[in-house]
Every structure is written in C-alpha cells, then in structure tokens.
C-alpha cells in the first residue's frame, strides 16, 4: 500500500483490475472453449482461424453423447459414487473428528492418530493403485460401483477428519457439557447441539468430498473396465481413441460434468470460504 495507508491511486486500481481480468480470462477461457466446441459442428471445431463467437450452434454432440452413447449412464454412476462415498466419509469422518477433538487420549494419541490419518494422504495415490487393484480383485469387486465408493471413502476420510476436527474445536466444550447436564446423552448432545452448529463446516466438507470424488480419474480408470461402473471422467477420456478424437462428444460430456459441481459450489459458496479458512487455520 502506498501513500501511508491511503488506497491505491488510479493507476494502481487499473493494475488491480487488469490482473483480476487476466486471472478470470485465464481461468474461464478453457471452459469457454469447451462450451463452444460442444456446440460447434465438426467443421467449425478445428477451423483456422478459430471461430470465437460466430458459428452455427448445434446440440448434436449432446444428443450423440447422452442418447446414442452411454454418457447418461456414466453420469448416473458418477453421481451414485460421489454421493455415496461422500456420505460414508462424512458419517465416519465426523465421528472420528469429534472423538479426536473432544476426548483426551493418553500419550498424546490425539495428535498422533490425527497425523497418522493425515499421512495416508501424503504419498501419491498411484502408489496404492496396484495393491488396491489386487485387493478388489480378490474381493471380486472389480468393475463395480462398490469398489469406487470404498476407495473414495477412504480417500476422503482424512480430509473430513481434519476439517471437522477444526470445526469441532471451535465449539465451546461447555455447550455439550450443558446439554449433558440437561439430561442428554453424548450422542444426543452431538446430534442436537453440536452438529447444528457445525453445519457450515459439514457443508463445506461435503462439497470438497463431492468434487474430489466427482473428478477422480486414476482409480476410476484402474478399477473399472465396462459401462457397468465407468464414471464420467473415464468415459470422457475414452473418446480419445486410436482412430479419432471426438472433440464434440467429449466437450458436451465435459460441460454436463461441470454443472453439478458448479451448482454445489455456488450454493455453499458462503460456507466454503469460511470452512476453508477455519479448517486451514485451526485444523
């Protein structure tokens, strides 16, 4: 800040806006490009010079992807996997986080257990891809929705535990003590007093889990082979084949894949910012 605390001058403000505009363009350009490709006829897609604004729009690729091919099914699979794994991770992770935040374990086990949980996210996921593949193979779960739900739940758990632990710590201990003196059990106090107070945190955490599960690619690719359990990201990448790249279909599916996440993020935007900063600082 220049001028001893006064706001930036006209030049400075211009610079700020220029940078902001640049950031927005950089972030949105690929999205815009995907959106336009999904609406362009094949001849326009690769036209030189590129057709930025004016082209003849068509919904053919959407129809192709979702009516002719299996993208509708991928979409459903993705939704089932994302929602179920998020729900599982939230239930298990929230209880674990509550325990870690509230009970005094001997030998500093609270911190240690929390770190152990976090450490499972420190190595690259690919490291576990082969063991998990073999495990699922033994369990005869390959190419099933269940396998993805299990793996994603495991992936999201550390995240839920750490975020929710931060939120629980924010809630004064006296509130649940009051609830218990008032005659409520520990779980009752958790349900009636504590959980309503951490709802913003739960919402933020849920959105993160949904996004991670929705976008996950590596394990979806490793563990699924057929339309049986294939998710959208894998389905989309499958349109890059030896013979051709179906830009239109891929873009149409991509646009549709983006929508749920966008809606969620907008819906909980307010909580998201708070959740992130709380989880980050107090976690």
């Amino acid at each position: 800040m220049r001028g001893g605390g006064r706001g930036p001058g006209a030049g400075g403000r211009l610079m700020t806006y220029a940078l902001a505009v640049f950031a927005v363009v950089a972030a949105l350009l690929p999205v815009y490009w995907m959106l336009t490709i999904s609406l362009k006829r094949q001849v326009d897609q690769l036209a030189v010079p590129p057709k930025w604004l004016i082209f003849e729009p068509t919904l053919a690729h959407y129809a192709d992807a979702f009516l002719e091919r299996s993208f509708a099914q991928y979409l459903v699979t993705s939704a089932i996997v994302a929602v179920s794994s998020t729900a599982c991770a939230l239930v298990l992770g929230t209880l674990a986080a509550y325990g870690l935040a509230r009970f005094r374990l001997p030998r500093k086990l609270n911190t240690r257990v929390a770190l152990w949980i976090l450490s499972t996210r420190m190595f690259p996921p690919i490291v576990t891809a082969v063991p998990i593949f073999l495990l699922m193979s033994d369990l005869e779960l390959l190419d099933t929705i269940a396998s993805l739900v299990i793996v994603y739940t495991g992936f999201n758990l550390p995240f839920v535990v750490w975020m929710m632990r931060g939120f629980f710590r924010e809630i004064p201990r006296e509130l649940e003590e009051a609830a218990r003196v008032d005659g409520d059990s520990r779980l009752g106090a958790l349900r009636r007093v504590i959980l309503p107070l951490v709802t913003p945190g739960l919402a933020a955490t849920a959105v993160f889990c949904l996004i991670i599960s929705w976008n996950e690619f590596l394990f979806a690719l490793t563990l699924t082979q057929t339309d049986n359990a294939m998710t959208l990201p894998v389905g989309i990448s499958g349109r890059v084949t030896q013979y051709e790249i179906e830009w239109g279909v891929m873009s149409a599916a991509g646009v549709v894949a983006m929508i749920p996440i966008l809606v969620f993020a907008l819906a909980v935007q307010r909580y998201l910012v708070r959740g992130l900063s709380l989880g980050a600082v107090k976690g």
């Binding site: 006296e174 003590e177 609830a179 218990r180 005659g183 409520d184 107070l197």
Partner: protein, 358 residues
Amino acid sequence: MNVSFINVSKSFGPTVVVDDLTLSTEDGEFVVLLGPSGCGKTTTLRMLAGLEEATTGDIMIGPERVNDVPTQRRDVAMVFQSYALYPHMTIAENIAYPLRVRKIERGEIERRVARVAKMLEIDGLLARRPRELSGGERQRVALARAVVRSPRVYLMDEPLSNLDAKLRVQMRGELKRLQHELGTTTVYVTHDQSEAMTLAHRVAVMRAGRLQQFDTPLNIYNRPANRFVAEFVGSPAMNFIEGRRDEGARVFAGGGLSLPLSDSQLDLTDGRERVTLGVRPEHVHVSTSAQDGWTPATVYVTELMGNETFVFLRLPGGEKVIARAPASFRAEQETPAWVRFETERAVFFDADSGERLG
C-alpha cells in the same frame, strides 16, 4: 437432596487439584464453595456434575453413590459461567431443552417454559436467540433452563461473574429468593467473598485443593479457622500483627504496641511465645486527637467510600493496619493519629501454622 463428598481427591497427572475433600450438605441447603482461582472449587463442582471423574473417594447425592453415574443421569442442573446457551435455538427452545430430551409431552413443556419465563421476567424474549440478548438476560435464560425442571441439586459455577456490578447485586438477591422458594440443595462456586457471605447458608472455603473451613458465614467471619480464611473473607481484609505474648505483663506486644489480654485470651495462647493477632478493621478505632491510653500512629492514606472511610495507618513498629472510620473522618497523609484496638474482639493465630488458637 443432600450432597456429600467423602475423602474425594482429584489429580490431573501429577497435579493434585482437590485433596481429600470431605463435606456434607443438608437437604435444601445453599452451600457456597469459596476460594481464589485454582483452589479446586470448580473442579469439585464439575465432579458433582459428573463432568470430571474423582480420582478417589465417594460422591453422594442423597443415598446414592454417583461416581459411576453418567452426567445425564445424575439429575442435576447447572448454570455455567459462560451461560452455555445453545446459540442455534430460540430462548424458548433453550429453556425447553432439558424437558425435550426427557420426552415430556409438548403441551406440558410449553406450560412449564411459560411459567419459568414469567417467573424470571423473560417472557418477552422467548422467540429471540441468545446472541440478541444482553448479559443479564442471558443469565436469566441460563437460570430458567436450570429451574424449568426439579433436579436433585442445582450447581452454579460463578453465574454472576460476567455481569456488571449493579446487575450482580440485583441478581444475587433474586438468586437467594429463588433458592429459598424452590428449596432445592444448591452448590454455588465463587471467588467473590461478598457473594458467599450474602447467599450461603454455609460457606466452604478452599485453598490449593484443601477445604479450610466449612461453616456459616457469620462463623467464617468471626471465627476464621486460619489466617487464610481470615484474610480471604471480609473487605477490607483483617489486620494481622505479629508479636509475642507476655505472660507476666498480661499483654500482647508487637508492632510497637502493647495490648492487654484477658484471662481467656491468656489461656488460649498459653504455652506460646510468638502469636499473630488478627483484628477486623471495624474493631480498630482511630482519632486525630490524642486519646488517653490510645496508641499513636501515622496516617498513611485515607480512602473515602462515601458511607465510611478506610484509614490506612502505620504503627510505631512500621506495620500497616486498616481502620474503618465514619465518613466524616478527615486526616492528611503523614499526620499523627491515635488508634485503639478492641482486643476483646481480636482472634489469635499460631505464628507458624496460621491456625486459629482456641
């Protein structure tokens, strides 16, 4: 229901917070646990609530040993220092909470909430949320949540300490009336000796985890068990003068003064050379003109309180004492004054242990 602690101790790791506490209340009694911060009074209360576990000893509510009874089944109600109101609930829902978790029928809940709300004059606030309330109003809501049912014991952890001075005195009176009306055993924790004196049937003075004295406010004030109690209770605090007992002259000599001792005082200090004399400021009389038989001293400073004046004096031996004088008392600093001690009202302490003699 009466409450008993029998040889109760509590340690956090190597730190002993409550040390071998034995204390029994009567049914319907208002007992105040009084002591400086860190004396173990809050831990004692929390053990009674079941929020802390006793390391050893028995905690009884009525005939029942409650050590292993979880908090929610002890049937006690507690008012927290921070009030601990549920921020996401309305005032009505806050007050109804203890009834709701007991699955009491809806109409009955509404009737009882309305009744206590009226009693505590918060019936206009029922639809609001805690954050919209002032400190005094929140305090009443916390009380209402406790008295909406009829528990075996009320527990109060410094419930007035977050209020401003005027409101505190007002609520103090209302608490006393409320407890009298309800007739339920109440254990109240505070570090404020005036709250203890005004509210309690009996006061338990604690220090460093140990019970110092458990007695009526009057006995605590007039016959403190030791120097600590004498110093902690009463404002301004009791004066102490170190000295020795002169058997032959039948006097207490110390601080540059010589005070005559009665037969009984000679008896109870018998066999001791050094003793500490304790005398309350109201039993020290001060005059700006020379009086026959009074001790000359120097005015250190005076504090006008409006209805009375505290006079800080320096004795010939250099020790300082405080006297309560009428509001009309005037004296400049470092001017001479004369003091008289009502020795017949004085108490004596062992110079080493600080225990009261007699």
